[in-house]
Each structure stands twice: as structure tokens, then as C-alpha cells.
Symmetry: D2
């Protein structure tokens, strides 16, 4: 049973571009909003990771765009953890228009566990246990 | 023989984040800078596309991050066209640190040909001819 | 009696910079979030203005920064209308840290009434009446 | 005799909004580009300040918008130092369209001298001497 976090936001004018819709790069900011909310809501806010010296730089990212989002629309972000490895974690996302549930975009981001200097780490406790408890892999146990 | 465009830029403070490095989503803005320069330098500035009613919304994007970029560093963007289809074109990118040529990130973005209302188009002339002339596929002819 | 709108948001990692705090330019995006919420909550969402051909480009902006905001903090935006003229409206803002009510920044933005081509307009109905009803000037009546 | 720095940039699609022009908040990013170039070109790159423990957070900012800027246009940034005090420095900016020299916006930003923890500093050497040498105040000596 995968744990799915949800959070919603309003499209900002700043996020639109001259095509009248949300600029494609801004979906990655929304993905960040989604995973921040996921970590917070599931009990391990990202600032706690950093306070313990664990950073999660993104090492790979992907997005598929289905429908445009426009200024002032409300969108729903669905976030879950798709994969956990010793040295990385992959979050996945769905962005939907709140009004009609229409899929706007979907994507994923893979993050390495690093120390402050950017050196790769094995995910330390209590984070590895937490990741296991909120990821798909749990159901495989 | 693939045509490769190059352009360089300086990392802005605005583009960095609290980890002290460029925020992962901003690489997609740099990709846009790269493909804008490519189109301009190869003779078909993107505003000309729009002036003739052809828009190129991004339908898929991907980036792999190798090294961090920091404020005030100069980076070199290499851009080329990797694939041309009837209804889409895929640009590819390499981002390098100018000082030492180190690879920072690489990625690609796939764009659909659409009219102003977002309806999918077959790529019209003179753009399809231009794309052929600057893309890999030329060498296959 | 001035009408004050309030809305809150979480600081995004994307909004921080290498100093570890929110980049100074991003407060103007927050001001936009504040005035969008104000217009929506007071019954005249900004998309309605545009749908009737009235645009509100910013012609002047100002911000005074008092305290830094950090990633994942919640901030409260207070927004009100400070001045209404025939051809412009001025919104004012206070940004506070939700946790302790500490003032982070305060500022204002002045917006002209324009048509789609950017030609200056006298504020048309029903907007001028609405502005009067939600601005300070009402109390002078 | 004031020292004026100049640098130019191309409007990015990411910087435009649904009104088809550059989003008002992005001018503050351009101001940062202008003052970064100024410091670099005049011999004191901003990373050198930070390397010596001097940070320049913005404490006040202002912009007046005159004309819109559009995607792919080249703009020229003019930057100079308008005022130097014991604990702050004020940069001023003019943004012009390169093609016709038309004024797009003008503004200023005031920055405090702080240590890494954000504590206010008197501007230390060699920076105070440098500021004197490149600012208007020199002409008053």
C-alpha cells in the first residue's frame, strides 16, 4: 500500500509565460512543493534532514506535460515515493486540475543522500526507516 | 553531421538555492536559453515561429545532474536537435562549467507543434525544411 | 475602515538563495499572491478583470526588508488597497512570519488600468465601484 | 564622475508572463545581474566579498516601470553606485531596450553590510576603499 501525500496550490501569475500558461520548468518547483508537503505531513520535514547533515540534491528529473495550467487555477499535487535505494530515493508526482481532476502533468525526481559537502551517503537512521515505512517497498516486506 | 549551437551565461544569485548551488528546476530555463540561441543563431528565431502561428509547448522534459553550479560561474550550453517527427521536435543539451569544461548536467526536451489554441499541427514550411537542415536526420539523407 | 485580506504560504526551496534565505526579488511574487487572494476573496478575481479587457500592469513597486524568511517557514501576507486614482490603484502588503508574527517585509505596488494593447484606461465599472468599496477611501465618504 | 557599468541580456521566455511581457518581479533579478557585472568589471566580484565574510542582503528596493520588455529582446543594464554609507550601499539601475535605447525601467536597491549571521557591519577594507573609488561620492572629495 503506497502512502500518497496531497497538497494543493494556486497558479501564480509569476509562473505563467507569454504562451498564457504555466512555464514548463515551474512544474519542478511544484514537484518540490509536493515532496516538501509529503515529508512534513508524514512526519519528517525536510529541514530535519538538513539539521542532521543529510541533503537530498536532485540527480535526475523527468516530466510529461498533458494539459496546460492557467493563472489562478487550483491544482492538486499527488506525491509518493516510488523507489528507495541505499544511496537514493525517487519521488513521483501527479499534477491535476482541482476543478475537474484532469491530469496536467506527471513526473519523478531522483535524489541522492549527501552530506553538506556533497559526498554521497548511505541513507542514515532514522531516515532510512522512515522511507521504508512510507514507500511502496514496504508492501513487499 | 549534427549542428551544435553554443551559448554561455553566468549563474545568477537568483538561480541558487539554500544548498548554495543552482536550483534543479532552473536547468530547464537554461535549456530554453540554449534552444532560443540555437534557433536564433541558425536563422529561425523562435519569435518568427510564433509570428506565423506555430507554438512549441514542451510535452516532455528530462535532466540528469552531474555537478553543482555556483553563483557567478560561467557555464557553456551546448544545444542540438536530436529528433524531428511530423508533430514534434526534440532538443538535447549539455551544460558545462566554462572554466574547466566539466559536465554539470545533460538533458532533453520534446516539443509539439501547435497552433495558438494548442491544437496539434504537422510542422509547416518553412520550419520543417529548416529543422531537417539543422538536425541529425540530415546526415541520414 | 480598511478591508484587509490575509493569505498564507510556505517558503519554497526554489525561493531561497545561496545566502540561505528568500531571494529579495521573490517578495514581489508574494505580493502578487497577496493581491490575487485579496481580489478573489473580495469578490472580483483578477481573471474577471482580464476577461473584460482590463489589465493591471505594475508601474511602480517598493519593498523594505526587515527579517529573513527561510525554507519551509509559513508566512502570512496582509494585503489592502492604499490608494485609488482614476488611472491607477496602489496595493500595500505586510509579510509576517506566522510562527511569531514577526514582520519580514512590507511594500507596495502601483498598477495602471490598461486595455489589452497597454493603452491607459480610466477604471471602468464594475471595477471602480468595487475598488471604492474595498479601499480606505471608502471611509472618507 | 560616476562609474557606470553596462551589461546586456536577452529576455528569456521564463521571464515573461501571461500578459506577454516580462513579469514585474524579474526586474529585480536583472538588477542583481547588473550589480554582479558592475562588481566583477570594477575589480571586486561579489564572491570575494562573501569569501571574506561580508554579505550584502538587500534592505530596500524600488522599481519604476516605463515600457514592457518582450521575449528575445536584448536589454541593456546600466548600473552605478548612488550612495555609500558606513553600513549600507545603494546601487541604481536603468534598463533600456538595446534596439532603440528606450527606457524600460529604472530603480535602486539598498544593501546592508552584514556578517554570515546577518549582524550589521561597518564596511571593512578593502571594500570601503573600493566603494569610494567607484561611487559618486568620490567626486565630492
Amino acid at each position: 500500500m503506497r502512502v500518497e501525500g496531497t497538497t494543493s496550490l494556486r497558479v501564480r501569475y509569476a509562473e505563467t509565460d507569454a504562451m498564457g500558461v504555466v512555464y514548463y520548468g515551474n512544474y519542478f518547483t511544484w514537484f518540490e512543493v509536493g515532496r516538501s508537503a509529503f515529508c512534513r505531513d508524514q512526519g519528517t520535514p525536510y529541514p530535519e534532514w538538513e539539521a542532521r547533515g543529510v541533503f537530498l540534491p536532485c540527480v535526475e528529473s523527468h516530466c510529461r506535460y498533458k494539459q496546460s495550467a492557467r493563472y489562478d487555477e487550483e491544482v492538486l499535487l499527488r506525491t509518493w515515493i516510488e523507489d528507495v535505494r541505499d544511496h537514493s530515493v525517487t519521488f513521483a508526482y501527479r499534477v491535476e486540475r482541482s476543478e475537474d481532476g484532469r491530469l496536467l502533468a506527471e513526473g519523478w525526481t531522483k535524489h541522492a543522500f549527501c552530506d553538506r559537502q556533497g559526498k554521497l551517503l548511505r541513507c542514515p537512521q532514522p531516515f532510512s526507516e522512515w522511507l521504508e515505512s512510507v514507500s511502496d517497498s514496504k508492501s513487499n516486506g
